[in-house]
Symmetry: C2
Amino acid sequence: MYTIAIHGGAGAVTRQTIAADDDPKFRAGLKAALQAASNILKHDGSALDAVEAAVKCLEDNPLFNAGKGAVYTKKGVHELDAAIMDGKNLQAGAIAGVRNVKNPVSFAKVVMEKSGHVLLSGKGANDYALKMKIEMESDDYFYTKQRYDQWLQVRHTDFYHLDHIVEEIPERKFGTVGAVVMDNSGSLAAATSTGGMINKQFGRIGDSPLIGAGTYANNQTCAISCTGHGELFIRAVAAYDVSCLMEYKNLSLHEAMQKVVNEKLKNMHAEGGMIGADAKGNLSFVFNAQGMHRGSIDAKGVEYVALYGDE
Amino acid sequence: MYTIAIHGGAGAVTRQTIAADDDPKFRAGLKAALQAASNILKHDGSALDAVEAAVKCLEDNPLFNAGKGAVYTKKGVHELDAAIMDGKNLQAGAIAGVRNVKNPVSFAKVVMEKSGHVLLSGKGANDYALKMKIEMESDDYFYTKQRYDQWLQVRHTDFYHLDHIVEEIPERKFGTVGAVVMDNSGSLAAATSTGGMINKQFGRIGDSPLIGAGTYANNQTCAISCTGHGELFIRAVAAYDVSCLMEYKNLSLHEAMQKVVNEKLKNMHAEGGMIGADAKGNLSFVFNAQGMHRGSIDAKGVEYVALYGDE
């Protein structure tokens, strides 16, 4: 028995804000990512490899704000963040502010497995990517017309954007992708990847690559991947808080996620959501925004894909 | 009534490893930092201002691995990390991998108060420092013979060091400084600052600037600043774990710190320690290393300064 849950960001995701043409494309992208993870898990692959495969698939899809589809920084480049954590041994790897890395999640896995460190950043992390022969792409690869046009609208302002929050751009969404998995051995893993905020500057790092904030996995409790207003998720130590509520207060996965997203984060005016898996086969999606791109394959093998709040 | 606890790193701090000449200098440095915080608190200053003042004082002291006394990276420069958190409103600011900033803790406070972000990194963070007119110093300022000689011994190796862990250098210590405070209004704050590991490379970020890992403050529970093997403190989400054990399991500050440092971290073979304050006036020092540079002024106004495990 295995389970998979993935997300492609939360926010003002409604039938009005998502173009009719894009709706099926987002769903197809989510399905492909579920399939990528499932292909590994059905052959007794590890949760760790499965979350990597799902996130890699979303990173390769230009529709999501991660990898190829990453937003532009104020300087007109792409600075990528990702994290991965193995619930079996609490090993973790993450990278922040790297450029030209095709699949940040796979790089984060190499950091976890080979570097002796958890978090590498910026130009130094790029040096390490070259040393480890991580697959790189030129800036051209990361060009998408949609993201470039978004950036042109805001590049002369100091306003930063959570994916796209400007009035002129209807779809206001926290662009992040993530996956949580329980594999056939009952082990958990989580991974998250993002291009961060549109027009971000000053080497800003959000919650995605921070263990305990945007990403966490522990076989004793849960695997969590978050998407939302990163600064508030950091201050709330959101992902680890779910784990602590389960470990110390005996809350269920869903109860703990509800408490963190719909009480603690909501009280901080933090918009967003998270996906979770536990080691008993439960999955949960909780978000306090209008919608969240999400999908799952549950313990009975039932596939679910949704974008809006009422699905 | 106010309380202050500070640390200047934990590790193989023994009467054999600390030069007899250095012992009184470390103690004087710790006393000066306590005084800096006390001067603010006795005039009803805030916990936030007091932790900044204490850490600033330690950053200005060439004996501690933070600010002026920071270790050298593999490239022979200084990359500084710091974080500050206000327990009153859970606001936080942090910087990672910045260069030439005289007082990283004060820069972290500006990030918290002015940037709209929590964590800025690398060259981007340096841009922000210039924009905000943060006090900068040339590389010369950060030269200290002791740190330079340490670096010369290891620069040609790929081995990185937790402050100094090489056999040739007897004093093996996790070089970090930190402060936790309860002010007269009962509010808490925490701050941590470090130059990181000697000979570090690849933009490695440790636990110090990560909210929940090396630094955390919440008036409902505690203020914590950690020092130790950063990667393991990140994976354990050590500082926030103390808070959760207090909030969800009703453990006392000291019980929660004991559980995290002497059970959870010890089981992960994570050497180090932490200092903590709660809103009732309690202070605690817990470390699983041989010693920790530390000091406090307790609720009765009694000053305490110590280096070794048996003091």
